[in-house]
């Protein structure tokens, strides 16, 4: 796809306005992180701000950096990946598996760190699936009760299950195939994608099957999601004032669509998956294809080493 169609022009936005929005979000994110640091500095429990206040600030920072990442992906792919990873770390700190999903999409982490986190997450998922079974060492973290968070987790775990080995892959496949979420209708992500689509993508990545079959099924999901995406964007563009100032209440890209494209490329091979995108998504408009193409570009990027503080 023409690289020019992956940037601001695809969205009929000026590059300078997108840059301003990105600068603003990064500044606001730093402001939140400084506020978080200040909240944590009080040694005296009596004057320490409530956990709710700290949670609010960290969640605001995470959400802000996630939005910044999606804009950065349109302008500077490497910066976008780093911001995805940063946002992912903040979400994971809140106990949201969505954080692991962002980190997986960014692809900036040590494999060993990943295996430990996913293995821990799978034990939690088993607990949830069993109705929060008595006798478990720890209560299920609150966010894990959300089907949406479970969907992000299974996508993440499925994308790296071959790395984690059969001790995780087959139990995870069994759990996902038998779950009621296979027909899940809960709206997921900014587009309100029915949950079953993300759940089925995870199953396709877990199954031992012809990769072409998996790619065809995943592309079918992406076609539907992309159609929903382009409709929302075109409706948002109607309010020219908000749209031109990057103030419309929509995500400019779709981290679900881009993320699925990244993870499917890594599992099935970038060449195979992109060839199916070319074949099955050729009839979509450039705007509709943009989130998928951003994902393919991330998948084609060289791996990055995590930067340790």
């Amino acid at each position: 796809m023409d690289e020019a169609l992956l940037g601001p022009a695809a969205l009929n936005l000026s590059a300078s306005q997108l840059e301003r929005r990105l600068t603003f979000l990064r500044a606001y994110g730093r402001t939140c992180l400084r506020e978080l640091e200040e909240l944590s500095q009080f040694e005296d429990q009596a004057i320490r701000r409530s956990p709710q206040a700290r949670w609010d600030v960290q969640a605001d920072a995470a959400s802000t950096l996630s939005e910044a990442a999606q804009i950065a992906l349109l302008i500077d792919g490497e910066l976008g990946r780093r911001l995805l990873d940063d946002a992912g770390e903040l979400y994971a700190g809140l106990g949201h598996p969505f954080g692991l999903y962002l980190k997986a999409v960014a692809g900036i982490w040590h494999p060993a760190e990943y295996v430990q986190r996913v293995s821990s997450g799978f034990r939690i998922l088993e607990q949830v699936d069993a109705g929060g079974a008595a006798g478990a060492d720890q209560p299920v973290p609150r966010a894990w009760h959300s089907p949406q968070q479970q969907a992000y987790f299974v996508l993440t775990a499925a994308s790296m299950s071959r790395l984690a080995g059969s001790s995780l892959r087959w139990p995870l496949l069994k759990l996902t195939e038998s779950s009621a979420h296979r027909q899940g209708v809960a709206p997921t992500g900014a587009l309100g994608t029915p949950l079953f689509r993300l759940w089925d993508v995870a199953i396709q990545l877990l199954r031992e099957q012809n990769p072409d079959e998996a790619a065809i099924i995943i592309c079918a999901h992406l076609v539907e999601m992309s159609s929903r995406y382009v409709e929302r964007i075109r409706l948002a563009m109607v309010n020219e004032y908000l749209w031109s100032h990057v103030a419309a209440p929509v995500d400019l890209t779709s981290i679900e669509i881009s993320g699925i494209a990244v993870l499917a490329s890594r599992v099935l091979s970038p060449e195979l998956f992109s060839s199916h995108v070319e074949l099955y998504m050729a009839d979509l408009s450039p705007l509709a294809r943009m989130p998928v193409e951003l994902g393919l570009r991330i998948a084609a990027s060289p791996p990055e080493e995590p930067v340790h503080a």
Binding site: R21, R30, A59, V250
Partner: protein, 207 residues
Amino acid sequence: MIVQWCVKGLHLPDDDTARGIIDGPNGIVCNWWRDVGTISPAGRRQRLTEGNLDRHVNHFTATDPTTGRPFSDRSPFISLSAGVVERDAVAKTNYVHRARKTALWFATEFGADTTAYLYVCWVLVGPRSAVEVEAVAEEVRDLNTYRRYSEFQTEGEIAAKVIVPDNQIQQCERWDLDPRGEFVLSWTEPNPRFTPPELLTNIRELI
């Protein structure tokens, strides 16, 4: 009835103008009032309609056929930011923003300026839409189909009507983007005439 704390971000030329809104008795008035100078009760009723609210939310700068000018010039509504932070909704959406974030974006003229003036205020919000009732602000939620996560939460946007009275404005804040690339609170100007919303509660204290 709900008392909703909000933030209004305004891009203003200088500190004197910003402090003037706190120091004076006029509160924050809508573009329509500022444009025509004098308004009437009948005029207010005529302008507070579903159609005008739709134009304010979805077609802000589109030409108003009745005036030939952008609708924004004569909107009777005032957009306020209330923020969105509710844990279970966040688990479903991964989306949070506190009120100052949206207000800062607007008040910096969408990133063109490094100074922003924010006004912290409260308004009354009804449990359901009541566009024609001036005293109650509207929670902008079901006015379009494309809002992110609309199934679970609002975007934290409130539309006040005609005026936010001066005694409902608690303070003005000046925020600046500093060289480290963070927003810092440069000063706060409290409103000496502010009326706290607790006066409206139905809790009778024990005497």
